[in-house]
Amino acid sequence: MEKPPVDSYQDNAWVRLTQSKWFVYILISPLFLVLFAYVVYPFYQTFIQSFTGDDALSHYKKFFSLASPANLEALWTSLYISIISVICCAIVGVTMAFLLERYDFPGRRLLAILVLVPMALPPLVGVLSFTFLYGDSGIFPRALQHLFGLDQVPFSLNGIMGVIVVHTFTMYTYFYLTASAAIKGLDPSLEEAATSLGAGRIRVWTKVILPMLTPSIVASALLVFMISMASYTAPLMFGVERTMTMQIYLSRTNGNLEMAATQSMILSFVSITFLIIMRWYQNRRNYQNLSKGISVHRSEVSSKGMKILATIASFVGTLILILPILVLILISFSVDGAWKTQILPTDYTIDHYIALFTDERTWRPIWNSIQMGVVATLGNILFGVAAAYAMVRLNFKGKTLLDILIMVPWALPGTVVAVNLIAAFSTENIFAFNQVLIGTFWILPLAYFIRHLPLVFRSTSASLVQLDQSIEEAARSLGATWLYTFRRIVIPLTFTGILAGTLLALVQSLGEFVASILIYSSSTIPLSVAIFQKLYAFKFGTACAYGVLQICLILIVLIISEKLSKGSAGSAI
C-alpha cells in the first residue's frame, strides 16, 4: 500500500534529523545544560563575587597581604596539615598492606576485615568518637589521670595534632587499598629473582619493591592531599581556625561573602590543580603485568618472641580500629548530661534509640536527610546513567569537557560547593525557576547532587564499557526500539553498576556535613547538622545514637555492594 506523500515527507524529515551528525548534540545538550547551570554558573558567580569591591583585586590583595597574615597562615596550615597527613597515611597504609598481604600472624583475619572500618565512619562521626576517646575530656586521658592520680590529663588530642591523627585514621585506607592491590599483583618471584642475584633485603626493597609500588603510592598521595585540603570537620572539632576551609566558614558566618568567595577561589585553584595532576598521572601510568599466575605466599612469623610481639601489635591495632565504634555505641546508651568528669558515663538508658523513631523532634532530621538524600540520589541516577551512556556509546566533540565538568565538583571541597551555591542561588534565577533556593528545602538536595555527580556516572560507565555494543545491536536487529533495548538489555546488564553508585551516593548524602553546615535551612535540618547541634547542647547520647544509625546504614550498603559484586562476577560470561 502506498503511503500518502505528506506523511512520508514528515517521516523523512524526522529521519533526516535523527540521522544528521548534529543530532547527537541535541541529545547531549540537557547534560551540558545541567552542568552549566549547577556547576559552571555557581562557580562563575563566586568568581565574579571575589572581584567585586572598590578595587577588583582588593580581596586578593587582602588575602596575600602580610599586614594581616591570617589568610596566608591558613593557606600555609592547610598545606602543612595536608603534607603531614599524606606522609602519615602513607606510612600506616602501606605498612598495613604489607603486613596483611605478606605475613601470617595471629589475629590477621580479623584485622584484615577491621582495617576498612574507617571507611564506614561518616566524617563527623569519626571525629566525634576521637574526641570522646582521646580529647581533652576523653576517656583515655582521664583514665590515665585517675590511674596515676595526676592533677590534669597527661595528654590529649587537640589542635593540629588532633587533625593529623584523625586524618591518618580516616584516610590511610586510600593507601591501604591501592597498595594492597599493587602488592597482590606483585610477583614474589621478582623478589626471589633479586635475592638469587645476590641482592640483600634492603636492596630488594629499594630497587624492586618500592619502584613497583610507586604508581599506586603517588596516586593515593595526590588523593589524600586533595581530601586533606578540603577537610573541614576535623579542624572544626579540634578548633583549628587557621585552615582554608575554616576561614571560608568564618568569613561566611561573619557575612563577608566577598572574602569567602576569594578564599574559595584560591582553595578551588589548589584542588583543581591537584585533580588535573591526578588525571594526568593516572593516564600516564601503565600497568605492567608481565607475570602470569601469581601465587602469593604469606611468610609465617615463626620465632617465639616475634610471635608474641605480632600478637600484641595486631591486638592493639584491632582495638584502635574498633574503639571508635564501640565508644559511640557506649555513649549512645548514656543519659544526656549525666556524664561529667567520670572516665566512663555512669547512667545508661535506651531512650535515645526509642526517641529516634518515636519523638517527632528527634526523628525529624533523619526524615529530612532521607528525603533530601533520596531526591539528590534520584537526580544522580538520572544524570549519571544518561551521562555514562552518552560518554561510552555516543560520538561527539566535548567528551573531555563533559568528563572534567563531572569530576570538578567532586574535587571541590564541600565548603567551596556551598559558597558557590550561595553566590548563585541567594537571588532569583532562571536555573532555579525564578526562585531563591537558599533557605529552602531544595538547596541541600542540589548540593548533594552536585557533590556526588561522579558516583553513579563512574560506576555505570564502568559496567557499560564491559557491555559489548553488539549485544545492543543484536536487540535492535531483532526489532527492538532503542528505548526497549535500553530497558530490557542495557539496564539489566548494567544494573549492579548503577546500584553500586546509587547506594554510595545515597549514603554519602545521608551523612553529608561539610556543605550542609553552611547552607542548611532551619526548617529542614539534616542529620549531620543535628548531630553537631546535639553535641554543642551536650546531648552526647542522642548525637551518638544518630551516629550509630548512620554507621548501620553505611554497613548495610557496604554489605549489599559486596554481595552485588560477587553475584555479578558469578553470572558474567
Binding site: 523523512n12 553488539s470 535492535r476 536487529s477 526489532g479 553470572s571
Partner: protein, 356 residues
Amino acid sequence: MKSVKIENVSKQFGQVHGVKDLNLTIKAGEFFTFLGPSGCGKTTTLRMIAGFYYPTEGKVLFDDRDVTLLQPNKRNIGMVFQNYALFPHMTVDENIAFGLQVRKLSKTEITQKVDRIRGLVHLEQYGRRKINELSGGQQQRVALARALVIEPDILLLDEPLSNLDAKLREETRIEIKRIQTELGVTTIYVTHDQMEAMAMSDRIMVMEQGIIKQIGTPQEIYNRPLNRFVADFIGETNLIEATIESINGDDIQAKTVNGLNFIGRKQHSSPTLTHMIGDKVFISIRPESVNLGPGENKLIGKISFVEFTGISVNYIVDFTEFSLKVMIINTNGQLKQIGEDITLHIAQDSLYFLGE
C-alpha cells in the same frame, strides 16, 4: 524472503573510505557471501544492510523499498554476530523469544515457535540453560535460532564461525547451509575464509579495499578469476609474469623474461584480457594442475622444499626467475629430495591468463 539491491553506495569514516561506489543485487533466496581480507569493507557493507551504518552516498533497497535510512529495528532482518551477542542475563529460550516479544506475539505462539526453532538447531534439551552454561558451538546455534525465529526477510551472518574450532566449524557450516536451504531465506554471509565461502555460497563477492573485485559463482571465481587479486586470494596459485608472443587461432604462446615458453588456450583467460601480441600477462598455474614427468609445457627445475601431508606431496621448485608451488597427489611413490632436479609438465588446458 526479499532481494537486496545496493546502488552506488559509498561509506566514508572521516577521511577514510570504508567502501567506494558499490553496486550489487542479491536475489531473493540466494546464499550470497562477501569475501575478502580484513579491512576490505565487507562488514561495513553488511552493517549498512543491517542499518547500523548509514551510507554516505547511495541507496539500499529491499525488493523495491528504499531502506537506506530506515532504523535497524524496522528492517525485519535476522543477524548473527561474530561474538554471537547473546543476552547474558537471559536463558536460551528467553534469548530466542526476544524478537517475538518485540513483535507482540501471544504467549502460546511464542512457545510454539521457540520450541520449533530450538528443534531445528538441535537444542531441544537446552531451553532453560543460561548462556554461560553452553559451549561455543551451542551458543552459536542459539544465536542462529534467535535470528531465524522472527522469520526475517534477510539473514545476515557476520563471520559466525570464526570463534569455533576447526572441526566444529565444518559441522556448523554444513548445519547453517542445511537450515538455509530448508527455510530458503535470503542470506548474506561475511567471511575471510575462502574455503567457507566456496563451500556454502550460491554467489560470492570478492572485495578489496572497499572495491568489488569480482562477483560470481564459486566455480567462476575459482576457475575464471577476473584479476590477479582474485586469482591469488581464492585458493593457491602460482602467478608467472610473461609477454604474449603469438596467437594461433585458439592457442596463446607467452614467454617469460628468461625465455621460458608457455602455451595455453585463449578461452582460458580472463574476460578483461585484450589479447594483443606484446601485452604483459600473468599466467596462473594452480599447484594441483602441475604433473610429474615430461609433457605439454615441460619444465625442469630444482627442488628447494619438500612437505609430505599424507594426501599429497608438496614441493617448491626453483627456476631462474620464479619458484613454483607444486602439489602431487600421494600415490605411494618415492619422495624426491631437496636439491634434486625434477621434470614437470602442465596441460595447456590448465593454464589461465590474467591481466593486472
